[in-house]
């Protein structure tokens, strides 16, 4: 009885862990193809409008499509809005860090804006393997190790060699899972934003227009939101010692993850 039930519980658990694929809206595919055709034929404005509409569909309430964000970025590039395009490419990469075209276009866009391309360990790791794969695979391996350890402890002889194997699986599996989570940029994206103002924004020492200036940030820069105070955000341009920090008006930047991703 137990032997039959347990594998079922395990299987259901794994199925719950993988991303839930939602059935697509009936007209979504057609609209997307239409927007792509517009973009390919040089009608970027129409394509951009359709992409924006697509992103308001209920399918994208809790999920996103890297392809749509990438295509929207292309459309924005064609319409000359490099800053908005950089945000779209960043969102595409947030959803699918291995999407090479988005990485290339982001590099080009940032280059045109005079902003360095991010080249950290996270980016290098995520180009090779999706963090979701790392996290889920690691968790599965870790739990297999945990179950194996239980079985060995109760059923098999307690030989060291046998016990070590599940222990290794537990540490490696869950360690990989944690590593994947650390590398997953979605983890910190909630506190990040892209400066989408048309011109460079002045950082202020206090949340007031008359406050002392402490530097400027170029449009397209990825910033971390450290604190919020009404219509002002206290932001940082990075984690390094030379990073700039200061207050900016919140309308000068767009969160990397906004509640209405399609509209911004």
């Amino acid at each position: 009885m137990i032997k039959r039930i347990f594998p079922r519980i395990f299987t259901v658990s794994l199925l719950l862990a993988v991303p839930v694929v939602v059935s697509l809206h009936a007209g979504l595919s057609e609209d997307f193809a239409s927007a792509n055709a517009n973009l390919a034929s040089g009608h970027a404005d129409e394509a951009l409008s359709t992409y924006k509409t697509l992103l308001t569909y209920p399918e994208f309430k809790t999920s996103g499509s890297a392809e749509i964000w990438y295509n929207r970025g292309l459309a924005e590039m064609q319409t000359g809005d490099a800053v908005a395009a950089s945000l779209s490419f960043r969102r595409a990469l947030l959803l699918d860090p291995a999407l090479a075209p988005a990485r290339m276009e982001l590099a080009k866009t940032l280059g045109s804006l005079g902003i360095p391309v991010p080249t950290g360990w996270r980016e290098r790791t995520m180009q090779s393997i999706h963090p979701e794969t790392l996290i889920v695979t690691g968790a599965v391996i870790g739990w297999i190790g945990a179950l194996g350890l239980i079985v060995l402890l109760f059923q098999a002889s307690r030989k060291k060699e046998l016990i070590m194997l599940p222990l290794i699986l537990i540490f490696v599996g869950h360690g990989t899972s944690v590593l994947g989570t650390m590398a997953d940029q979605r983890r910190t994206a909630r506190h990040q934003a892209v400066l989408t103002a048309k011109e460079a924004v002045t950082l202020r020492a206090t949340p007031a227009d008359s406050a002392t200036e402490s530097g400027t940030i170029e449009p397209g820069t990825l910033i971390s939101i450290l604190s919020r105070n009404g219509a002002w955000w206290y932001v940082s341009t990075g984690t390094r010692s030379g990073a700039l920090q200061g207050w900016i008006p919140s309308n000068a930047a767009t969160p990397l993850l906004s509640s209405s991703k399609g509209s911004s």
Partner: protein, 602 residues
């Protein structure tokens, strides 16, 4: 926290200093003194914390005696060195020129010998009237007549005992060969920090250099040298790096700063500022103080020019410098349908990190993917080297040569864009079976192909700027932030606990149950045996005895009963009648004593 780690490191580091190379040097505080003065000879043993040195050094006309020792630890950019300094007083017995012979030193199990040193003692009067006789402080060394130990005056004049000029204690210089550069151009920058060699220095932290608008590469470990300037010997830390500007305009880069701690001689307390006390302190700056110093270079002004728009090739992707191009095909004969690899190597010097990939030319009939890249640097700053771009190519029709390649860069020396091309290479490839992605591209009407994101990215015709087809839904949050993952984790925890419980239960059952259940079972068996009356008298008493021990609560009555039962059992066991059935009356009495009732009629 970082400071704590540094301090801890500072305490622990002596443990690993034994591995350091040992060197011995000798230095005179002054090579020339006047008669009546004294000089100090310091023998420095670096890389060891203890050494055997002579108490006296024999030299004709001089008296050289050991006065003390001190140990110094220096940490320069996290590289720690230790040294022990032995101080000798050199007291001249007459005027003239002397050679101080080398001293034999044993350190770290090895023998060393200090070099010979020249030493001169002038007549005091001649010295005092000679205006060119040494630096200004030597005037302090002129002794008034009648002072019995004039050498102590020299101690006051020793640099280590003076309050040094802090402007010359440490300073920095910055050297950037180019003051006018183009956006994206990388230029070497050298930062040098000078520390007066007489004072131990501990560097705290890293070089703080940069400002908005420039990018500075990480500083590799500095080079440490010695340099004399204005008669002062300095330890020099030289940092090399590269900087590049990201936006055009005038840039004023703030000075490069380095925090450090310099051990300086401190003022002796009132009443102790005495030559004798100093001598008792071993001739060293016995009372020293740590001075926190931020060493700064001068600022740097840069003029950053924008990259010209005129003549910018379409294949330009941000490379600035001087480069050349080479290409190879790693597998010139792939089997049908298999990909071929075209490796384009861009070598030279410039901003390798910021450069984009070359552009394929003559790529009709090929499906290509964005290249992977690898950079092999030939210097520690990644300024020169070779960057390889590996293009994966799949033939869509029979091919006899690879695509060509074009790479453009901006040469800041000639201020012109340069386009490099590589010609197609021999390559025999043919397509495999029909591909849906190819057919989609051929009709130029993108058809959505629902598939996984990774698969889509690789299947899509990735011509630059072409929209992707197919939609894959992915979550905006990591699995660990999603409820389904948490539910699955909880389910696994419950499943693991359930599995452990079930296995434990099975194990207990296989061992006959728990101790309590085994006890209950045994009591029931005894009770059945006793009330059944089917066993012989000896066994009945044996069972009764065990039952009494297990069931009856501790009391005097129980003890008496057990004693009686034991006696009767022994009588039956070792006497006669043990194998006969128990008489009915005795059986009843036995059950009554055990507070049991019979289940079988006697």
């Amino acid at each position: 926290m970082a400071v704590a780690v540094l301090l801890l490191t500072g305490w622990l580091l002596p443990l690993r200093l034994n591995a350091a190379d040992v060197s011995v040097s000798a230095e005179l505080s002054r090579p020339q003194i006047s008669q009546g003065e004294m000089a100090e000879l310091q023998i420095k043993v670096s890389g060891a914390q203890q050494a055997d040195v002579p108490q006296q050094i024999q030299a004709d006309g001089l008296q050289i005696r050991l006065t003390g020792q001190s140990t110094q630890f220096q940490m320069v950019n996290f590289k720690v060195s230790s040294s022990v300094v032995y101080s000798y007083i050199v007291m001249p017995l007459r005027t003239g020129s002397f050679i101080i012979p080398g001293a034999s030193i044993t350190a770290d199990g090895r023998q060393f010998r200090t070099p010979e040193l020249s030493f001169k003692v002038d007549d005091a009067k001649a010295q005092s009237v000679d205006p060119s006789a040494g630096p200004p402080q030597s005037s302090q060394g002129i002794q008034p007549p009648g002072i019995p130990m004039p050498g102590f005056q020299q101690q006051r004049a020793r640099p280590a005992q003076q309050r040094p000029d802090e402007g010359h204690l440490a300073f920095g210089e910055i050297n950037c060969t180019k003051k006018t550069l183009y956006a994206g151009e990388m230029t070497p920058v050298e930062i040098r920090y000078y520390f007066d060699a007489r004072y131990p220095v501990q560097v705290r932290g890293r070089v703080d250099f940069g400002c908005e608008g420039i990018l500075v590469e990480r500083f590799p470990d500095p080079k440490q040298t010695r340099e004399d300037r204005d008669g002062i010997t300095y330890n020099v830390l030289t940092f090399h790096s590269l900087l590049s500007a990201v936006k055009p305009g005038s840039l004023d880069v703030a000075p490069a700063k380095l925090d450090c701690e310099i051990e300086m001689p401190g003022a002796l307390p009132p009443g102790f500022d005495d030559p004798v006390f100093r001598q008792l302190m071993g001739g060293q700056a016995g009372l020293s103080q740590q001075k926190q110093v931020t060493v700064k270079t001068s600022g740097l002004h840069l003029e950053v020019l924008p990259l010209p728009k005129e003549g910018r090739p379409e294949s330009f992707a941000g490379a600035v410098g001087q480069f050349d191009i080479d290409s190879i095909v790693s597998n010139p004969h792939p089997t049908a349908g298999d990909p071929a690899n075209l490796v384009v190597k861009i070598g030279g010097r410039g901003n390798f990190k910021g450069m984009g990939a070359p552009v394929l030319t003559q790529s009709e009939g090929w499906r290509s993917y964005p290249p992977s890249d690898k950079f092999d640097s030939s210097d520690e700053l990644s300024y020169t080297g070779v960057k390889s771009f590996d293009f994966t190519l799949i033939a869509q029709q029979p091919q006899k040569e690879s695509p060509g390649c074009e790479f453009s860069y901006f040469d800041p020396i000639t201020a012109k864009y340069v386009s490099l091309t590589s010609t197609p290479l021999p390559l025999v490839a043919s397509p495999g079976g029909p591909s849906p992605a190819v057919s989609g591209a051929a009709t130029s009407s993108p058809t959505p192909i629902p598939s996984s994101g990774q698969k889509l990215a690789k299947n899509a015709p990735l011509k630059e700027g072409q929209p992707l087809s197919g939609i894959t839904l992915r979550s905006w949050t990591t699995p660990m932030q999603r409820s389904e993952f948490l539910i699955a984790t909880l389910a696994m925890l419950v499943a693991t606990a359930a599995l452990a419980g079930i296995l434990a239960y099975w194990k207990i059952q296989s061992q006959g149950g728990t101790i309590a259940s085994r006890r209950r079972k045994h009591i029931a068996e005894l009770r059945s045996l006793l009330t059944g009356g089917t066993v012989d008298a000896g066994s009945s008493y044996e069972a009764a005895l065990e039952y009494a021990k297990l069931v009856l609560p501790p009391s005097e009555k129980r003890d008496a009963l057990i004693s009686g039962l034991t006696e009767r059992r022994d009588l039956l066991k070792y006497g006669s009648g043990g194998l006969l059935p128990l008489p009915a009356i005795e059986h009843r009495k036995l059950l009554e004593s055990l507070e049991l009732t019979t289940t079988k009629a006697p």
